[in-house]
Every structure is written in C-alpha cells, then in structure tokens.
C-alpha cells in the first residue's frame, strides 16, 4: 500500500515531510479555533472557512512564527543599561506570494501571571531595525520606534499589531531585519542594590517568549466573500 505521500504533502502546501526537532507550544487561541472548527464540522454546522471568527479577520491559514532572534548584552554598567535587549526576528518565507496578509500580531510573553512575587514596573521600547546588525556594535541602530509602554510586571502576554510592518517585510524580504526590544526596570537607575536588578533582569530573560501570529487568505481557496454575499 504505497501512499502517494508527496502528492498529499503538496496538497497540504508542503514540499517535504516536516521533521521538527521539538514541538512548539501551541497557544490557546489556535487550539480554540481548531476545536471550534472541528466541533462545527462534526455537528454539521457549516462555517465560513475563510473568516477567523475568534480573531475577527478574514483568512484560512494561521501561522505562529517563533522568534529566531538573540539577546544582546551591553558593555555598560547594569544601572546604565536596559534590563534586557533582544533582537526579535521572524521568518516570513513560509507565507506564499499569492497569500494576502490579514493579521500579524506580535505576542510578548513576559512570564507567568503570578502575583506572589510582584516585580517592579517595566518600560518596554520596541523599534524597527533598519540597518543590518554589525557585530562589533553591541546594539543595532534602532530605527522607527513604535511602542513605548510601561507595564506592571509580571504581565503575561502583551500583544502588538504589526500588520503594516509584516506586509512591508512580505513585499520586501530584504527589509526584514527584525525588531529591537528593550525592557527597562522603572527607576532602575536609582535602585541602590545591584543584585536585585540583576536577579530581576535574569528572571525576565528566562521567562520572555516572543512569537508572531500571522493570518493569511489564499484567494485560490477563498473566493471573495462579497461574491458569496451576492
């Protein structure tokens, strides 16, 4: 029973059998969308497969891209440098040319929502990297900043809309140099005790997890809904 594996993989939009080293954590929202769709199909409710009701956007392919960036370490004294500096990079090459991007949501998970060990407030700065990273320079030259936000810590997952940035990266892949994330501990410059700052930053580095949720619509599989409405 020779299973025409290659044909079926192509049908799934894959060119070869994936062989992941380890399973990525599946976020709650993807599991919910999967189960909602399975339940609807099982009980015979027909749903629009080209509209993601749970996210309120059109689309029939959802991808969660893991961050492939790396931490940067400043040469300055702890007080004088941010608690955490990270280059975030997301590989958009899996998105096919014919697909239309309808959502790109950056998720920054700062760690569990535990309140038994309240950390200090944090200041988050997110900017676009517009020049390739030069190795002898400790941090990339930050370009356009688009998030400056202070958050109480621990905060759980923060979400940022990157649709326009992702569209630009998808149309001009050479522009995709990633994002530069800096997190400062509010008032860190006047905190007298080093080890607390160090301990706080080390904990943040361990718990930070970044991902990009991308939703696309494949026009070959999804005819324009306006035609359906007509």
């Amino acid at each position: 029973f020779q299973f025409q594996e290659h044909a079926f993989l192509q049908f799934l939009g894959l060119d070869k059998v994936p062989s992941p080293q380890k399973f990525q954590p599946v976020p709650y929202i993807l599991k919910k969308i999967f189960h909602d769709q399975e339940t609807a199909a099982t009980i015979g409710i027909s749903r629009d497969l080209c509209y993601v009701k749970e996210l309120g956007v059109q689309g029939n392919i959802l991808r969660l891209l893991p961050d492939q960036g790396f931490f940067l370490y400043s040469k300055n004294l702890p007080q004088a440098s941010p608690c955490l500096q990270k280059l975030l990079y997301f590989n958009l090459s899996a998105v096919k040319d014919e697909e239309r991007l309808t959502m790109a949501q950056l998720g920054l998970d700062l760690g569990p929502n535990t309140y038994y060990r309240l950390g200090p407030d944090l200041e988050l700065v997110l900017s676009l990297v517009q020049e390739p990273h030069v190795w002898d320079r400790s941090i990339p030259k930050p370009g356009k900043m688009f998030v400056l936000q202070s958050v109480p810590w621990p905060q759980g997952v923060l979400h940022f809309n990157l649709l326009e940035v992702a569209k630009d990266w998808s149309n001009n892949p050479q522009k995709n140099l990633g994002l530069f994330l800096e997190i400062l501990v509010k008032g860190q410059r006047d905190s007298g005790v080093n080890f607390q700052l160090e301990d706080t930053c080390a904990r943040l580095r361990c718990s930070l997890h970044a991902s990009l949720l991308v939703v696309t619509l494949n026009p070959k599989q999804c005819h324009s809904s306006s035609r359906k409405r007509r």
Partner: protein
C-alpha cells in the same frame, strides 16, 4: 401485482464506505499536532434504476438510470458524495512554525446517485 424488484443485496448499492487513516501509521504524528487521523470515507455501489428515487439520487440520476434501461450502452448513474464537510489541521513545518489550516470539502458525510 407489484413487479418483484430484482434481489440486489444492500451492500452492493451506492453508500458511504468509512476509511480512517491514522497519521501514526504514516509516521506523520511527529509533525501533525491535531487531529490524530483523517476520515478518508468514499462512495461506492450500484445505482439501479429501480432504486434511484430512494438512493438519495438527483433527478438527473433518475433520468440517466432510465436511459440505461432503454439503452445499456448509456452508463448507469454513478455513486457520488452528496454531503461533504471540512477538516482543520494543526501541524508544524520545518521552520518550527505552528500552522493551522482549514480544508473544505475533505470528508464525505453522505453519498447518493448523481
């Protein structure tokens, strides 16, 4: 008096045959997160004229079955899906991306003569 219908055993008549493909049998459980397998049901069976009205058949199938009786060179009506449902697949690709895709008209729920 009713003309006795030819004795056709039910199992030869057009109906849905169930077939479940377990992704583990193909070694795909290593990259498909959910579901565990895929219902590859199919339609198969005869569409004799005498039963086209009851085998969930279309009007066209009734006419084709009638024509087949008149001229056996005309093929019989065929057993085809009459109700389909989509599936969703949650899987991981070679770039460690987690992908959720919906595929419409993938599972055969009902069959009929068409």
């Amino acid at each position: 008096a009713a003309i006795p219908a030819p004795k056709v055993s039910c199992k030869n008549l057009c109906h849905r045959h169930q077939l479940f493909i377990n992704f583990r049998d193909l070694g795909w459980h290593k990259w498909i997160i959910a579901p565990k397998g895929f219902m590859a049901n199919y339609c198969h069976g005869d569409c004799p004229f005498s039963l086209t009205t009851s085998l969930n058949g279309s009007n066209y199938a009734f006419m084709q079955a009638l024509m087949h009786v008149v001229d056996p060179a005309i093929p019989q009506a065929v057993c085809i899906p009459t109700k389909l449902s989509p599936i969703s697949m949650l899987y991981q690709d070679n770039d460690d991306n987690v992908i959720l895709r919906h595929y419409e008209d993938m599972v055969v729920d009902e069959c009929g003569c068409g």
